[in-house]
């Protein structure tokens, strides 16, 4: 390696170390997205805090899912910036996005497991695609991950044979395969019964603690939001209405926040209990 490339690698490493000290993992600045004449995101600005569970809430149609699609660049925003560890990913080409996307893992609402592969192959997929590990090492890693998430017995089952909760666990195992820094959950408890929802909440918190990931959770399940959330951002009709810790959120004097909390049907006391 030449002296110049050594210096450049050292500089990149130093920048990465420096970035890791920044408490803000993801900066979203004036993000805008329209479909035709219909503006969905109207200049959204907020921060995602490193190593915490960041929850984005909002009513159906408020633009939550559209926003998460921009965050991971499934779609290109019309304007604004998404800055990950100091790098703006909004203007990157599809080719340049490949390394940037490896910082993210995503757990889809319906899990989106590959239905032509069994659980083992789903989790091994990323390791086979992005690493040069031998099959023996891949097997070790996959089984360890499945065991940590309590689904090792389902390794050779097909996704269609799994329950909703198990699918979610496998989806988390798959998303964690390359040890991403940011894990995005799109409505993780929607459509699940209360007991499974609680299990998924525990899983989100346990994953954050164990792997030190920054979680971004899109949800409108208020019980779940207050159980796992460290930082809550409220999206109202494509704009950020409020943002803060759960305690600050409950104490908000915003009429729209109050309406949303009231409409959720979960009392503030219960939400505080959820925190406790």
């Amino acid at each position: 390696m030449s002296a110049a490339s050594e210096a450049s690698a050292a500089a990149a490493q130093a920048a990465a170390v420096e970035a890791e000290k920044d408490p803000i993992h993801l900066r979203i600045r004036d993000l805008r997205k329209s479909y035709g004449e219909h503006e969905i995101l109207k200049g959204v600005t907020f921060d995602v805090l490193r190593g915490l569970n960041n929850v984005i809430i909002g009513a159906s149609g408020s633009g939550k899912t559209v926003m998460v699609r921009q965050l991971i660049r499934l779609e290109k925003p019309n304007a604004g910036q998404i800055i990950v560890d100091g790098q703006d990913i909004t203007s990157l080409s599809d080719v340049d996005l490949v390394p940037a996307r490896r910082k993210f893992g995503m757990v889809f609402q319906m899990s989106a497991l590959f239905d032509s592969m069994d659980v083992y192959d789903n989790v091994a997929f990323l390791l086979r695609e992005h690493t040069k590990l031998r099959e023996r090492d891949i097997r070790e890693k996959v089984m360890a991950r499945l065991k940590a998430l309590g689904v090792e017995h389902a390794a050779h089952k097909m996704p269609a044979e799994l329950s909703g909760g198990m699918k979610k666990r496998v989806a988390v195992a798959r998303a964690l395969a390359l040890e991403p820094k940011i894990l995005i959950y799109d409505e993780p408890t929607t459509g699940l019964d209360p007991i499974t929802s609680r299990t998924v909440d525990d899983l989100i918190e346990q994953t954050r603690e164990t792997y030190g990931v920054t979680s971004v959770i899109i949800s409108h399940d208020m019980a779940s939001v207050f159980r796992v959330g460290h930082h809550i951002t409220y999206l109202y009709k494509g704009s950020i209405e409020a943002s803060g810790t759960p305690e600050e959120f409950l104490a908000s004097d915003s009429v729209r926040v109050a309406e949303f909390l009231e409409a959720s049907g979960v009392s503030k006391d219960l939400m505080r209990e959820g925190r406790a």
Partner: protein, 300 residues
């Protein structure tokens, strides 16, 4: 608490469905109808929508093709996926293509012997069957069979992956879905349809021989010699060129409809139907164009 001031509302509401991936059936802007009677506006809109949708569809196919070429030449090269696609398009179509070829050859043999007997030229049935098969029938029928069997399955599989977020999941995993899903299928179509066409030729001519010689009593030596005399390499090459274009087109259309499917199970069903219908029409239109270009006749 960091509270952000509400911003001025620029759109009446955001309670609209999330935009789906681009598609060729985008709604056409509402025309101003004040000057014209409503029935005229409706008819006018229907007439204008036909070329608009046609060009929109061509644009979609060209866009997907461009991306497939761009990602097809970039590493990583996934040979196992290509082999699986070759097996799916080619090997799994052997039986249906062989069966179709056999019966087309047999039916054609009966019809031509019956027709040529009227002026004592039944010995020409063999070469005419051979020429018709190699130039036209084999590539067209092989492509139609591949479209019906493999194209429809491709469209359904990709459509199902689209509506269950599996294609988005691939993207979030830094795996380009066009490179992973579309490129191997298009290559498989372009490679396997010509090979299936060759098989169709052989079995079709065998079917004609079976009927003409074994059932209708034509002289076997004359049948074979006439086929060898009339059918030459140019005829076979013309058929193979068509087969290559058809195989490529059929898989491209199937992938386009599946890849950009939307609207749940009904959308997947619609995508599959559109893929099969469009493929059949494309095969017939392209057949005319290629024949016209190769023969220098027919206006092109």
């Amino acid at each position: 608490m960091a509270e952000v001031a509400p911003q001025p509302v620029k759109a009446p509401s955001t309670d609209a469905p999330i935009a789906a991936p681009p598609s060729g059936d985008a709604p056409i802007a509402e025309p101003r109808s004040g000057f014209f009677p409503p029935w005229l506006v409706t008819i006018g809109r229907a007439v204008v929508s036909i070329p608009l949708r046609f060009f929109s569809e061509i644009g979609m196919l060209a866009g997907l093709l461009g991306q497939a070429l761009f990602w097809g030449i970039r590493p990583p090269y996934r040979f196992s996926l290509l082999l699986a696609a070759l097996e799916f398009v080619g090997v799994q179509s052997l039986f249906i293509v062989g069966l179709t070829g056999l019966f087309i050859g047999m039916v054609f043999g009966i019809q031509l012997v019956d027709g040529f007997r009227q002026f004592g030229a039944e010995n020409q049935a063999g070469p005419v069957v051979g020429m018709a098969l190699t130039r036209e029938l084999a590539p067209v029928f092989a492509a139609l069979m591949v479209s019906a069997r493999a194209g429809s399955a491709m469209s359904t599989e990709l459509g199902s992956m689209r509506v269950t977020d599996q294609i988005d999941a691939l993207t979030t995993m830094a795996v380009n879905p066009i490179q992973y899903l579309v490129v191997p299928r298009i290559i498989a179509g372009a490679v396997m349809v010509p090979l299936l066409t060759m098989l169709f030729n052989l079995i079709g001519i065998f079917g004609a021989w079976l009927v003409c010689v074994q059932i209708l009593g034509l002289d076997p030596g004359v049948f074979v010699e006439n086929v060898k005399w009339i059918v030459d390499a140019k005829d076979v090459t013309q058929g193979l060129i068509k087969a290559f274009v058809f195989g490529f087109t059929v898989t491209l259309i199937a992938c386009r409809h599946g890849f950009y499917a939307k609207g749940g199970a009904a959308g997947v069903g619609q995508a599959t139907t559109s893929a099969v219908v469009q493929s059949a029409v494309a095969i017939l239109v392209l057949d005319y164009l290629i024949t016209s270009i190769i023969t220098g006749q027919g206006g092109l």
